[in-house]
Symmetry: C2
Subunit: 399 residues, 2 copies
């Protein structure tokens, strides 16, 4: 009979999508340039030329069997050559030791996470730890896998996880911990020292409970970093680690649904995990990742869209909001700014912002209260024109 | 903890994939042209020119926002214009009354079925009826949805479902019935009269149990029909009907993962079903169907690959196997031939065929015993060269 839970999930949309839809209505009413939509993490920079060139090269090959191959089924785990190229690229870029046989091509990071969480959990006792604030769809995928979601509060000065809370909440049932850096929604980069702290805690707890605790590093924003710092390559720091990656943001291909899962060869039961990934992918209806998108990857590895545009947006918005008087977390990566709401209730604050035609997402959706997320993957002109509106919004509270 | 069920599902592969992998080994040993691989339903005809032309047109548009849009997220349910084009095409081709707001774009038919079965069932009591022989992955998706799988035996002279068995096995818990035509694995076309019989039974049972029983028509082979008969458009025959469609076979794009779910506007609770589909898609990690593949659809609706090639293969193979002495079901569509095994145990028979380097799939995987499936979406030369091998195989049993 019709699944009520799914009907509600489908009807309610995420808070982010909901706001996006409200924005559409406002745009019709006031005109597109009079609505300041910072709701969606939808890249507004075009894909690099290498994407177009690769597609043209591939479809211009007139050899019949190449053409059939181009749009044909690949292995469920992905084309062998594509996986080998990714592995080589990662090894040389991050001084890693990856194994192409442990790379599984997916229809983007959402598919990667949904598949992986199903592979790594097997009962409603299994616990998956999230560091708040977190990407809200994580909870949807955890529920789909049938596991329990445990959240760790942030240290409010760094927006890294509160390590004591983390230590206290790891139990014998902890199967998985998810870290997301550069972070959605805070824009914070997890630097080497905090990754080491997290990994040390996990190593101790693995010993204490005598079973592996898998660390998923969700990295759709890996290349979107605006400082000289880098995000450590997780497999070099923790054996029981698995990466979920997407080409959605780095090369602006979010609609094409292409990414991968990488299992650290040093993982406990790495081969079995890989089998469980194949099984979960099959079970959820993923036959293979889209083929043309797979085949362009060897041609685009290492190239990115012009991310200086995001960097400029970040700096401009950060400086202006600071000078108005907002309490803003310094953005280090991704394309999000996390700002303290001017009242305790972030949902009310977001509604107040809507009166200025400003669409900003309340932080309650990300598992913490009292903040809003501003997605600055939008036109420079929108950001410039929005500044007076942020000023008005501030005046409503402070004068 | 690692999901054992998924690990087994991932390791075991389907019987079809297993055979395909064995074929790879044989090909290395004996040479590619000495192995007769009829295992996979992987189209060997290239996509029509309209696909290539459409891709080139779309990526050659230099307008920045068009390019961002081309590879950008669409709505979760798919691009509005694409859905409208599909709706108009179906209405004019099949004299149907579809609603673009009830079309949900998917990553192929597997995703469509996985999502839809999750949307239409909600407990382990819910029963999904399959007509044997059936595509084996149906059972995987039913298990993923947590429902029960009920199979109906075939009428062995027509390979339509045994209608008495069907009537007897519908219970108050029957949520869904799946019909697949032209059929994988038999190649049989469900003509109007049998569709009417099935729909009449369902209408009676709906009245008896006083709740809707949804009929899913899974139609990846809709355009692959070799007679003058057509497959009836199901929404014209039964209100509570839903179509799952894929562009994998008709235009040879299996790797691109593009298809749709169409909910009949006359369906009981059609809007709620659509919400449940959106929720299930979100829950399984499907953000949207691949965008470039969506956008080519308006340009390719109505075109097909050169399916005369399949028709010729079907006739050649059917006539030759018949004249050797095999008992073969007359192929009417799709690209499969269903042949009676020469011993009761179809798995043993398939192994015996392997000694001739013939790769044919035992019917046990499809839920009936005593047959094999021959997928003839292969080169004409392979079929010609395989005939003496089928002759040898026959001799092993009959002389």
């Amino acid at each position: 009979m019709i699944n009520e839970t799914m009907a509600i999930l489908g009807k309610e949309r995420s808070a982010i999508r909901e706001l996006f839809e409200q924005g559409k209505i406002l745009k019709e009413k006031y005109g597109k340039d009079k609505v300041y939509d910072f709701s969606l993490g939808n890249p507004n920079i075009k894909a690099p030329e290498s994407v177009k060139n690769s597609i043209i090269k591939l479809i211009s090959n007139d050899d019949k069997s190449s053409l059939i191959n181009l749009h044909g089924y690949t292995s469920a785990e992905g084309d062998k050559n594509v996986r080998t190229c990714i592995s080589k690229y990662l090894d040389s870029t991050y001084n890693a030791k990856t194994d192409p046989n442990l790379i599984y091509m997916t229809a983007g990071a959402a598919a990667a996470l949904s598949i992986l969480l199903k592979a790594l959990t097997s009962s409603s006792n299994d616990e998956v730890i999230l560091f708040a604030p977190y990407f809200p769809e994580y909870t949807v995928f955890i529920k789909n896998a049938g596991a329990k979601c445990i959240t760790i509060k942030p240290n409010l000065s760094t927006f890294y996880p509160d390590i004591n809370d983390f230590k206290n909440k790891i139990t014998k049932n902890t199967s998985v911990v998810i870290v997301n850096s550069p972070n959605n929604p805070t824009g914070v980069l997890y630097k080497k020292h905090i990754i080491e702290v997290i990994c040390n805690v996990l190593q101790e707890k693995e010993k204490e409970y005598n079973h592996p605790i898998y660390l998923i590093s969700d990295e759709p924003y890996r290349e979107l970093i605006y400082s000289d710092d880098a995000y450590p390559f997780i497999t070099n720091h923790y054996d029981d680690s698995i990466i979920t990656y997407s080409f959605s943001k780095s090369v602006s291909l979010p609609g094409e649904r292409i990414g991968y899962i990488l299992v650290n060869p040093l993982c406990a039961d790495s081969k079995k995990i890989f089998n469980a990934i194949c099984g979960a992918g099959r079970s959820l209806g993923y036959v293979c990742a889209p083929s043309l998108s797979q085949f362009i990857i060897p041609d685009i590895l290492g190239s990115t869209s012009d991310i200086n545009i995001y960097k400029n947006n970040a700096n401009f918005l950060y400086n202006n909001l600071k000078s108005i008087g907002y309490d803003v977390i310094k953005p280090e990566g991704a394309f999000y700014l996390f700002v303290k709401a001017l009242e305790d209730d972030d949902i009310k604050f977001s509604k107040k912002a809507l009166e200025q035609n400003l669409l900003i997402v309340p932080s309650t959706s990300f598992g913490v209260k009292g903040y809003v997320r501003i997605a600055y993957c939008v036109d420079e002109s929108q950001i410039k024109n929005a500044i007076p509106k942020f000023q008005e919004l501030y005046k409503n509270y402070k004068y």
